[in-house]
Symmetry: C2
Subunit: 201 residues, 2 copies
């Protein structure tokens, strides 16, 4: 005999699908929703009902856009320089870069990083679309803005090789010390990168 009501078990199971949510967290979330009035639960139901219908990928830059947009406003905006593209792996990376307020070019979301262990090959990424954008938009510089991980480095290297014969400057985000980090406590790899990539003052 099950100790919990079926409806509560279903909610716990459904919440347990979310990434990083274990059975105890799922129990906590489900019980929280149950304890509160149904307003919070209905808000989740409403949001989830429109989630897939309300969001699509921009056909040019592959950032997430409203379904009723044709192309990302970050691309169509005349203030953005189409000759510079920041290449990122995931849509939320765009938000991170936008928050710096220092980038006025456009974006290209690959939709992941090359990772043989997870079964992600170059064919799964929007690389051919990037190559055709280089021609059609007259791109002068590509900034490879990947994570500083093995997968990020692999993808950067792969792109570099693929784009060798294109007349385009390829740069990547600087590696070095994070702002505010004590030299003493910096990890030795970042410190090494900061040394080899030292900047003239």
């Amino acid at each position: 005999m099950s100790l919990l009501p079926k409806a509560l078990e279903n909610a716990i199971e459904a919440l347990g699908q979310l990434p990083g949510v274990g059975p105890r967290s799922a129990e906590r979330y489900a019980y929280y929703l149950l304890k509160n009035d149904s307003y919070k639960t209905n808000k989740l139901i409403d949001a989830f009902s429109t989630l897939h219908k309300g969001v699509k990928l921009c056909p040019v830059t592959f950032v997430l856009i409203d379904s009723n947009c044709d192309v990302s406003p970050l691309y169509t905006n005349p203030g953005r320089d189409k000759s510079v593209i920041a290449v990122v792996s995931d849509p939320f990376d765009v938000i991170a870069i936008e928050k710096t307020g220092l980038f006025k070019g456009t974006y290209h979301v690959l939709g992941g990083l090359i990772s043989p262990i997870d079964g992600v090959t170059p064919d799964d990424l929007k690389i051919s679309e990037l190559v055709s954008r280089i021609k059609s938009d007259g791109v002068k510089e590509l900034i490879l803005a990947m994570n500083a991980s093995v997968e990020g480095e692999t993808t950067s290297l792969y792109l570099q090789q693929q784009l060798e014969d294109q007349k385009v400057i390829i740069s990547r985000l600087a590696r070095g010390l994070s702002v505010g980090v004590d030299l003493e406590y910096a990890d030795h790899i970042s410190l090494g990168r900061a040394l080899t990539g030292r900047q003239k003052m």
Copy 2:
């Protein structure tokens, strides 16, 4: 201008209501649901739609039961001893005690613990219902199975005072060393309790 599609923002906001879910986790959950096909999202919608309708409180023991049950099966089951009640604060505490397999009595869920700081007074708890159960069920022993927290101790003390004139044995869960804990690493309060509550061999 918002950087994210409205539908995705709504989902992030709704998920951010859950306890302990910050904006980054909410983003991660929402993006996970969006990346996967709508099956997972629909499963959540279905589970949430029936959550409130499918669950109710048992009118006697206040554990969570299926809406189509009258009384908790843990109470109606003839194998359970109605003269012993374990008093717990939350419905999930029942699950924890059931998992030990060592308790054959019935339960009474108070629905919280006395906590002036959170505005929870004795009137918010199912205490009068407990008192009437003591008479109607001919209860001989109450086991106060609260958390080992300030609120748990407060609630235990309050119940003890309220039930002074009832002819019922009041016991509480033993405090002491957790199984598997090294004496050296035990916190000094638990070790103190283990000393004062030492058991004859």
